[in-house]
Each structure stands twice: as structure tokens, then as C-alpha cells.
Symmetry: C2
Subunit: 210 residues, 2 copies
DNA sequence: CGTTCATTTGAATCTTCTCAAACCGCGTGG
DNA sequence: CCACGCGGTTTGAGAAGATTCAAATGAACG
């Protein structure tokens, strides 16, 4: 799905990692959000004709597509569904506020904060396989990670090398690995409240879309 | 309204400037959004019990408060209203994505981009008085602006001084002034598409809340 | 094996921050 | 009327963090 296009369906990610991105005037790719199992890829299609962001898979995965008219129908006729949609939208807002905040942190904290977010989101996400894991695999090259964090790939690399020497990270090509999530979480200040982990992710909802 | 509190009402800004902010662990204030006439201040109260951000006025103004139960009632019983709420939420998402992106720009562009956003939003906002003005008054100290842009007040100042010497800005104490918005818009790459200016801001909506 | 993509390293440079001090405008109380 | 304090702006100098450009190394895949 390219930037500025209009999409015919609403997409829900059921397995795998994906991201939403924009390309700046300077030709640089800016990743605006990452999607994990259970997340919607292009909720805004419900409201706007033209989508601001492109969407791309980071891994192989499974996607559920709901034709837009059908999705709008669901929203209009089923109040539970409408609530679930808007709950997802507000969660996105909450997460994006943190992404803005994160941009103010130094590179090391920025990277660790992102890893923490990912691990918490997987813990509460739709893919039961991924919940409560001791370790975390982030299926991104350092270059993609740089676009997520708003850093250069070079600087991300220096930071990764550093964190590896501290034992917080491991990495092979195309993957950043957190061997022990507990160690990660102790190494940076992270308050998962903004992910609203406790509040039911509209339970009826998960059973439908995940 | 403080951070982490729960709010009893939904607040709509009818006149004046306000902002949503969070305080970081380091005690620094991070402004997550600014609200202009016609904007909702705490839409997320519709979904979450505890609000992540504090809300504060930047100027005197006028606020419309709708008790939460009543707002939820409106959403549930009036499909038009529900659509309007969610349209506002998606607009917020779109704007916040740009705020993240903006953090990747150098200070000068960051500042100008923000000014452009403000001028466009005022042009399409609820306060008719403010529409189509040749000049723009941003009622913020450089220190607040720094918190918006994620810069230090010192660096904002240097940037302001520079832009003033170029004739793009003027400023007296407590106010940044753009004498000529056209000059501003020519001085930085800015695409207002993300503000979805064309799409009706749920017209029925504006008449109710503005 | 050669090609391509990703990671790593170095050196120079740039942007922004920090700390510190001076300055200015404005209102308050002496 | 003046002295003072306060919040906001301005300036300087040094340091930290991140970028750029360039090149070397490594891993995977046909």
C-alpha cells in the first residue's frame, strides 16, 4: 500500500510485524508506527479518503482484510464494534504521543524504550505464541530501526554495539535480539501505562479479528 | 487538569490556545499537542479512565465542557456524533504523526513547520475571527515553544533571533509573531494535506461545539 | 565465486546542549 | 519615584551527541 493512495479495505495484522511509513521530501523514510499482531494497519481509512502513510510488512505474516464499506457498516450497526474501533484509535494516539516524547531521548534510551514498548505490546497482543516470552526478537535491520528511531543507521549501529557489550542486546544479521527482557526493562526507565495494558482490548473484538 | 488524573468531562476549546503535556522523569515538560479553537482537549477520556496528559491553557479562552456520561450517550445514540468524534480522533493521529516526523528536522525547519501548521489550523478552525489572517500571533514564550519542539529554550532563542534577522519572524516578550504568513510558507517545505483541510470537519459538529 | 545487502569502523563536522552570566521589561512595595 | 525581584530573553564558551562521507568487513544466496 503506497503513500497517498486510497485503500479499499481495512487491514488487521494477525501475525507478523508491519509498519506504517512516510517518505520525506529529502527522500528519507520515516516510520510512523509499527504494527504487531492484533493491530490495525490503516484505521484512518475509516475517516479519510487518502491515506497519509504507506504500509509495509517487516516479516511474513497474516492479514485480515475487511472491505471498507463492510467495515463502515459494522461501525454503524454494531455499537460494540464502533467502540472497539475507537478504542484502537485512542490507543494509537497514546502510543504516538510516546513516540514523539521518545524523540527527545538520547540514542541509547530511545532504542531501549522502543524495545520495551515492543515487548509489552507483544505481551498483550493477539498472538498468544508471543506472550510472556523471556526473550524478544525484533525482525528489523539496523537501517529500519534507524528509521523508526529517527537516527542514522551508523549511529544505531554504534549504539547496538555498545548495548551488546553490556549484554542487553544480541544481534545477528537482520535481527536485533533481546536475550532477557527483564534485563532490558531494568536498563531503562519505562512506564507501560500508556499502552493501557489492563483495559480490556475490547475482548469481543479480539475474538473477531485475531 | 493534571497528568494521570481522570476527567469528568470532555472539553472542547472554543476560543484561545491550550496544550496537552506530560512531565518526563527528568522533570522536563513535553508538550504533546496544542489545541486551537474547535479542537477537543481530552478526547481520549472517552476511552480511557486515566488520562495520560495534563491540559493547560496558554491564553485566556472559552471552554465547553460536556460531562462524560452525556458525551458517551451522544456517541452511542447519535451516529452523526459518533462519526464526528472519531473524525477528530483520526485527525489527531494524523497530526501527531507529523509531530514525530518534525522531530527529525533541524531546529529552523522544526520551528517554521510548527508555525505553518498553526496558521493552517487557524485558517480552518472554529474561530472565524482568526481565519485568513495575513499575520499570525503565537501566544507562547520561547520556553514553551522549546517544549513543543523538543529543543532547549536557549537554542530556540538563537533560532528565533536568526529568523527575525531574515524578516520571517518578529517577537516581543511572551509572543512570537509571524508578520506575513505568505513569507513564512515560502520559507519552508510544508504540505498541509495531513490536516485534511478539505474534508468537512463534520459540519453538523462544528455548529454544535464551536 | 561473485554480488548484494547489512554491519562495522574511522575521521571530520555540525547541530544542539549545558552551564553561566548578563540583560530587559514590568510590576510591587518601600 | 526608585529599588527590587521575577520571568523571559540574550549572549558566550565549551562539551556532548549525532551526522556525513568513505571505506572495510561480513553474511547470505544464487
Amino acid at each position: 500500500m503506497g503513500e497517498g493512495e486510497s485503500s479499499a479495505s481495512l487491514y488487521f495484522l494477525q501475525a507478523g510485524w508491519a509498519c506504517r511509513f512516510a517518505t520525506t521530501r529529502g527522500g528519507k523514510r520515516q516510520i510512523a508506527a509499527i504494527m504487531l499482531p492484533g493491530d490495525a494497519c490503516n484505521l484512518d481509512a475509516l475517516a479519510f479518503d487518502r491515506i497519509g502513510n504507506g504500509v509495509q510488512m517487516l516479516t511474513s505474516g497474516r492479514i485480515l482484510a475487511i472491505p471498507l464499506p463492510e467495515a463502515r457498516e459494522m461501525r454503524a450497526c454494531n455499537p460494540q464494534m464502533a467502540l472497539a474501533f475507537s478504542w484502537l484509535a485512542f490507543l494509537e494516539i497514546s502510543i504516538m504521543a510516546q513516540w514523539t516524547m521518545r524523540r527527545g531521548l538520547p540514542a541509547r534510551d530511545r532504542l531501549l524504550h522502543f524495545m520495551c514498548e515492543a515487548s509489552h505490546r507483544l505481551d498483550h497482543g493477539a498472538d498468544a505464541e508471543l506472550r510472556g516470552n523471556r526473550s524478544l526478537e525484533v525482525p528489523m535491520t539496523q537501517e529500519w530501526l534507524a528509521d523508526v528511531l529517527g537516527l542514522t543507521n551508523v549511529h544505531v549501529n554504534r549504539t547496538v554495539v555498545q548495548l551488546r557489550s553490556e549484554g542487553v542486546l544480541a544481534s545477528n544479521t537482520r535481527r536485533i535480539v533481546v536475550p532477557d527482557v527483564d534485563v532490558l526493562r531494568r536498563s531503562v526507565a519505562f512506564d507501560p501505562a500508556y499502552l493501557h495494558p489492563k483495559e480490556a482490548r475490547a475482548t469481543s473484538f479480539r475474538s473477531v479479528f485475531s
